[in-house]
């Protein structure tokens, strides 16, 4: 078990409103070959945390404090040029909507090949063979390398994104709600694929989701965020079966179960405030 990523005391706020903290003193760790899920409601700061790890926060936001220790080095202060060398190579990324991250006028094979050429200098027949093997690994017939993104289904596009993100065999994969826009059956396939790739390549995966069902299926460790703060974190079984924080309990109580046995209970935010303070 080797620690791959450790975030310590990460705080993010708008440049124009430095007192309005969007991410507050967030700390957690990720090991190689394991999946850490960040789970929380919309607006809780999940995506900002992931963007900060990749050094992709918008200019309107600033990291007020925090270290981002990746493979033993604090990359929090790195400039764009330094970060570009590890983005795509050591850190792969996938987002919710594959169509917006794919270029509609380039074939998917070309786009998968781009980072192999940039980071590893692959060209010609070697490049072509590597692209074909990547497509195969994500379950797409290699001849689809010549297809354009709009000729693929949503699930296939997300598979292409995965192929792009693992092309250089990164040590870490950051996936921000990668299955949220997909049908459930496709979601199940993609989760299985990511889980297999993670194990086979010994990648650490930082997986963001709002769905505790997905957490249960894919996480080793869980980080629960609420209004910019980590309220609870720990091994998946512990957090799901024995949640310690009232917010985690309340959030779990809202998730309908497939058996229909559990009464649905919306979060009582007013109670939570006093509950948390107590």
């Amino acid at each position: 078990m080797t620690e791959l990523l450790r975030i310590e005391n990460l705080t993010i706020a708008p440049v124009s409103a430095p007192e309005q903290l969007l991410v507050k003193h967030v700390s957690f760790a990720l090991e190689s070959g394991k999946t850490t899920c960040i789970v929380g409601e919309s607006g809780s700061g999940k995506s900002l945390t992931a963007l900060a790890v990749m050094g992709l926060l918008s200019d309107q936001l600033q990291r007020q404090s925090g270290s981002i220790i990746f493979q033993g080095k604090d990359i929090a202060g790195w400039n764009n040029q330094q970060l570009r060398k590890i983005r795509g190579k050591q850190i792969g990324m996938i987002f919710q909507e594959p169509m917006t991250s794919l270029n509609p006028v380039l074939t998917v094979g070309y786009q998968i090949g781009e980072s192999l050429t940039e980071h590893l200098g692959l060209k010609g027949a070697v490049l072509k063979a590597k692209v074909a093997s990547l497509l195969q690994q994500v379950g797409i017939p290699p001849e689809r390398a010549n297809s354009y993104p709009d000729e693929l289904s949503g699930g296939q596009r997300q598979r292409v994104m995965i192929a792009m993100s693992i092309a250089c065999e990164p040590a870490m994969l950051i996936a921000d709600e990668p299955t949220t826009a997909l049908d459930v059956t496709v979601q199940a396939q993609i989760l299985k694929l990511l889980d297999e790739l993670k194990s086979r390549m010994q990648m650490g995966m930082l997986f963001i989701t709002h769905d505790f069902g997905v957490v249960a299926d894919i996480a080793d460790n869980v980080v629960v965020m609420f209004r910019g703060e980590v309220v609870e974190s720990g091994p998946v079984n512990q957090v799901l079966s024995h949640p310690q924080h009232p917010y985690t309990k309340a959030l779990l109580d809202c998730v309908p179960d497939a058996e229909g046995l559990k009464p649905l209970k919306p979060i009582d935010y007013a109670w939570l405030k006093t509950g948390v303070a107590a």
Partner: protein
């Protein structure tokens, strides 16, 4: 499934609907999509029938065709002894009062330039129900019932959160005291806590107002909690229907089994 007509408030038989789509990279060809292929469903009075299926399976088309918001190619929709598909003009409008719809996207489905009182009251105007004072009373009462307040009457949709906007959508549908409400993915865009609030609200309104729901969803966990009966759609066809508890316990079709096995956290999150 028994089809005793007296117990069914809405019965649809043999619905067909085909769309023509442009095809090919430059849109020169046309492609026919059979969105509804011989679809029949039966909604029991006072109950909730879920229509589930993957995106593109025809759920929204079914919703629009049931309410005659879109013409069918063929088939009949029986409601209170009338075939809606054969009505038009005034006769259709009269029936439609009793058939309302709640949409997925509370952002897109509310006119941003209208105040809440006008959005919710519009149906009363169209159907000429009550005088202005009575209309305002009805609007205020339903707003309060769905968890908003009279203070919200003069606000615009953008002043509300996603969950509150869905409450406005519910108020707009229910102010006419309908008998059947078709809910097209009403909680799909909402956070899980807001989703739970809206599901509980829909359930209690159903009791109070004796509503029958057609509840369209792709989330089988939500369906288990809200619905009595289920119809599974795949490529425009209903491939399986029955009682929710029975279909979940013993699905007949591989397609349904696959959907059920794909429910996230199915194994690990069991209660």
């Amino acid at each position: 499934m028994s089809m005793a007509p007296d117990k069914h408030i809405l019965l649809a038989r043999g619905l067909n609907k085909t769309y023509s789509q442009r095809s090919g990279r430059f849109g020169f060809g046309t492609n026919k999509v059979k969105a509804l292929d011989d679809v029949s469903i039966a909604l029991r009075a006072g109950s909730t029938l879920a229509v589930v299926g993957e995106s593109g399976s025809g759920k929204s088309t079914l919703a629009r065709c049931l309410l005659q918001l879109q013409p069918l190619d063929s088939g009949e929709v029986m409601f209170q002894g009338n075939n809606l598909a054969s009505l038009s003009g005034h006769a259709l409008r009269q029936e439609r009062r009793h058939l309302q719809m709640i949409f997925q996207d509370p952002f897109a489905s509310l006119n941003p330039r209208m105040k809440v009182r006008d959005i919710v009251g519009e149906g009363l105007l169209i159907h000429e129900i009550g005088n202005p004072r009575e209309q305002l009373e009805k609007v205020s009462r339903i707003l309060e019932r769905v968890g908003l307040s009279a203070g919200d009457l003069n606000k615009y949709p953008h002043e509300f959160s996603g969950g509150q906007r869905q409450r406005i959508g519910i108020a707009r549908a229910l102010v006419l005291e309908p008998k059947v409400v078709v809910c097209d993915e009403p909680v799909s865009a909402l956070d899980v806590s807001i989703q739970a609030q809206i599901l509980l609200l829909l359930k209690s309104l159903q009791q109070e107002m004796a509503l029958s729901y057609i509840f369209i969803s792709h989330d089988l966990r939500v369906v288990r909690h809200i619905a009595d009966d289920i119809a599974v759609m795949h490529k425009g066809r209903i491939v399986e229907q029955g009682k929710v508890a029975e279909v979940y316990a013993a699905p007949n079709q591989d397609y349904t089994r696959n959907l059920l096995n794909s429910i996230p956290g199915r194994k690990s999150l069991a209660a």
